[in-house]
Point group: C2
Chain length 300, copies 2
């Protein structure tokens, strides 16, 4: 019997549940995120209905989440503003329902893990995965392991200088127009220009400003972490002209200070989009399930 693993990509607007072993072997279902009760029941039902029990389940969750295994709230979604979801015991609830080991991570670290196993970060011990969409979040690996720490990275809330021609007040509930997410998320673009990014033309001035903000954030990330590669995912990055503009502006802003081929002739391989497209998260959840199962087996 093939060893099958379960993966859950738990987002604020949609959930993806999957069963399989990797990119070539994956059965998936996706549904809207409603209440925690209903949504987690749908997850449990998906896995329970598949007959033979899964070895382990990996969860990549929207946050903030508690990743501290010594904490009473480990496996919880904690202080999210999403109605009904604050203090939800995501990992514990599914572990009890499905009686299998659960791996629990942030959504961005999970996507990073997918790219590490099958995508743009293979073989890299230090890299960043950043998603720019409804919200902005970042994760990745440092010294060969996913980034945790006091809590977990919240790269959407780096403070940035304002673009000189930007009069938008900013959309972050906590930081207004001071932080990256407040200035450069999908909703910030829509509010600033009066319509969603997808309806603005490729030559709209919005993209120059957006690329500027993303590049400023990348300068901060490069100077703080010195990653070997940066992967930019999320809906906003699907806008055609953006990736090249971000690459150019990041190099311009660094102005030659960090001397590395990756930041000169290697720029197109240094700042990239996810090789797995929008499947990084769900595949990362499968990889997380396998790691959780292997670790558990090692402990027995």
């Amino acid at each position: 019997m093939t060893e099958r693993f379960g993966g859950i990509e738990g987002g604020g607007t949609k959930f993806v549940c999957a069963l399989g072993t990797g990119p070539e072997d994956l059965e998936e279902v996706r549904f809207e995120t409603t209440t925690p009760e209903e949504t987690l029941r749908r997850c449990a039902t998906f896995f329970a209905a598949r007959g033979s029990p899964v070895r382990a389940i990996g969860i990549g969750s929207f946050g903030p989440v508690d990743l501290d295994e010594r904490s009473r709230a480990y496996g919880f979604i904690t202080s999210t503003p999403k109605p009904g979801w604050a203090n939800t015991d995501f990992a514990g609830r599914l572990g009890r329902d499905l009686r299998c080991p659960i791996g629990f991570e942030t959504d961005v670290n999970t996507a990073a893990l997918g790219e590490f196993h099958w995508g743009a970060a293979r073989g890299l011990a230090n890299f960043v995965y950043l998603t720019i969409g409804t919200g902005i979040g970042g994760g990745g690996m440092m010294n060969g392991r996913l980034m945790h720490g006091l809590v977990h990275p919240e790269m959407g809330h780096i403070f940035l200088p304002r673009h000189p021609r930007d009069n938008y007040a900013g959309g972050c509930v906590y930081h207004g127009g001071a932080c990256f997410e407040g200035l450069a998320s999908g909703p910030a673009i829509a509010e600033r220009w009066g319509k969603p990014g997808a309806e603005l033309g490729a030559d709209h001035e919005a993209w120059e400003m957006e690329a500027h903000y993303i590049a400023l954030a990348l300068v901060s990330i490069i100077c703080t972490l010195s990653p070997e590669r940066i992967i930019l995912g999320g809906g906003v990055m699907e806008q055609q002209p953006l990736l090249g503009m971000v690459q150019r502006k990041t190099a311009e802003l660094l102005n030659g200070y960090v001397r590395a081929p990756a930041l000169n002739e290697g720029l197109k391989e240094y700042i990239v989009t996810p090789a797995l497209g929008n499947r990084s998260g769900v595949l990362g959840a499968i990889a997380l399930a396998r790691e959780t199962w292997e670790r558990r087996r090692g402990e027995e």
Copy 2:
């Protein structure tokens, strides 16, 4: 015979050479940084004159430096603007002269290592050491190992929003007044206010502005790395009112977004000055020498 280790704290203005095993057993000499030839000869002479050979030497060097062991320039100071010092084979030269294993690190990672072994970072797998003085630099540990990556962190060059009352053009050769070092280093304070920080009173408005810039940088660092503690060293931090102001402003700017006791009631233990004072670097170099020797012994 006691095992003795050598440590070199190689700074742009002064060098410290030391021989010993830790804080309670250390013989030190310090001298001005002149040409590479003369300075490295004085280092070699100090160790050679001590009779019994040292087991290994740890070097914490000003930078940028090449830390990639696969690189031909490993152990070099690379693109420094300091006259005469660009492309200096620091580690190789001393290894040949003294015929012992050499550990080579950035000055800030070395100071971080000192604080990890004997100071404010004991037992922490994720922390940042930031020095704010003539220049600004940062290092530390992530997942239990010193931070490397594409090159190494350059936290002085994070871009920051301008303080609304700041008209100073900025002092960074690469980034003017756009980056942390350009706005908040010791020379930037002196140039902005017309005299060195040490001559400004404790109630001078300079400190509110300085604390604001440091706090902005800490927000970026906290959101990017999620460290378990931040250690602030360097000459500028010796100004009395500064540490408390930085603690308060960092919490104000984060505005409750990152929910952790360390960022509320634990703030005074979260943002701290080095427990080893100005000895973090030289003690870290001794710790680096010991690690280098133990690793070498493990390989034999």
